[in-house]
C-alpha cells in the first residue's frame, strides 16, 4: 500500500514540476507548482513526518504560492511570446542538465545504504509535533531566535524595497 502511494505521489510531483517548467503562462505554472507542493507534502507523510507535511501545505502551498499568484496578477504577465531560440544556450543547458542527472543517479546507485528498508518506529505516546517541538526548543533554541530576527529583517527589507522611490 505504502509503495503504491509513494509511486503515485512521486509521479504526480515530478509531472507537475515538469509542467511548471513547460507551461508558457505563468499562472498555469504557479498552479502546477501548488500541485507539486501538495504531492510533496503527501510524500513527507509517507515518511512519518506529519508536522513537516502540514507545514509544507500551510507555508508553501498556502502562503508562498498565494504571494507568487498575487505578484503574477499584479504584474499582469501574459503568456510569453515566442522569441528567437538561442540554440547554443539551449544545447548547453540541456548538456549540463543531462550530465547532472547521470551524475546524481550514479551517486545514489553507488550509495551502500541505498537499498536499505526503513527501520520500524517505536510506538510512543507523544505526537510527531511534540517531538519536533522538543528538538526545536531544547537543542535549537538559539537558531530559532535567529530565524525570528531573519524574518524581521526580511519584512523590513521588503518594505524598503517596495517604496515608490528607491534611493
Amino acid at each position: 500500500m505504502l509503495t503504491i502511494l509513494f509511486w503515485v505521489f512521486s509521479v504526480l510531483m515530478l509531472a507537475s514540476a515538469a509542467a511548471v517548467v513547460l507551461f508558457r503562462n505563468p499562472v498555469n505554472s504557479a498552479m502546477s507548482l501548488v500541485l507539486s507542493f501538495l504531492a510533496l507534502a503527501a510524500l513527507f507523510v509517507t515518511l512519518d513526518a506529519y508536522f513537516i507535511g502540514v507545514i509544507q501545505v500551510l507555508v508553501y502551498a498556502g502562503a508562498v504560492m498565494v504571494l507568487f499568484l498575487f505578484i503574477i496578477m499584479l504584474l499582469d504577465l501574459k503568456a510569453e511570446t515566442r522569441r528567437k531560440l538561442n540554440i547554443a544556450a539551449l544545447a548547453g543547458g540541456l548538456a549540463v542538465l543531462g550530465g547532472f542527472v547521470v551524475l546524481i543517479t550514479q551517486v545514489i546507485k553507488s550509495l551502500p545504504s541505498a537499498s536499505d528498508k526503513f527501520p520500524a518506529l517505536a510506538r510512543t505516546g507523544y505526537s510527531d509535533t511534540y517531538d519536533v517541538g522538543m528538538a526545536l526548543f531544547s537543542n535549537f533554541n538559539l537558531p530559532f531566535q535567529i530565524i525570528g530576527v531573519l524574518l524581521l529583517v526580511a519584512t523590513v527589507g521588503v518594505v524598503i524595497l517596495s517604496r515608490r522611490s528607491l534611493r
Binding site: 508562498v64 526503513f118 519584512t155 527589507g157
Partner: protein
C-alpha cells in the same frame, strides 16, 4: 516498501527539474519557481534521511526535521524579498524577461 534509494532518486529528479527551470526558462518568475523546486528537493532528501537514521529510542532523527523547518522559514523570507526585487525591477523596466535585463552585462 520504498527504500531510501527510491526517495533519494525522486529527490534528485525533482532537483533536476528545478535546475531545468533555472537553466532553460527566461522568465524571472519561472526561474524563481525552479529555485523553490530545488529547495524542496533538498527537503525531501533530508526527511528521507531522518526516517532512515532512526535513533536508539526508535524515533526518526528530529534534528534533520528541524533543519527542514529552518529551510522552509528561510525560503519563505527569500520568496518575499525576491518577489519584492522583481516588482521593483518591473516598475523600472516593465519586463521580467532576463534577456531584456542586460544592463550589468560586461
Amino acid at each position: 516498501m520504498p527504500t531510501l534509494g527510491d526517495y533519494l532518486l525522486v529527490s534528485g529528479l525533482l532537483f533536476s527539474v528545478g535546475l531545468a527551470g533555472v537553466l532553460l526558462r527566461r522568465n524571472l518568475l519561472i526561474i524563481f519557481m525552479g529555485l523553490e523546486l530545488m529547495l524542496n528537493a533538498a527537503n525531501l532528501s533530508l526527511v528521507a534521511f531522518a526516517r532512515h537514521g532512526v535513533t536508539a529510542f526508535g524515533l526518526p532523527d528530529y534534528n534533520a526535521q528541524v533543519l527542514v523547518f529552518f529551510i522552509i522559514t528561510v525560503a519563505a523570507a527569500e520568496v518575499a524579498v525576491g518577489l519584492a526585487i522583481i516588482v521593483a525591477l518591473y516598475r523600472l523596466r516593465q519586463t521580467t524577461h532576463v534577456e531584456d535585463l542586460d544592463k550589468m552585462k560586461f
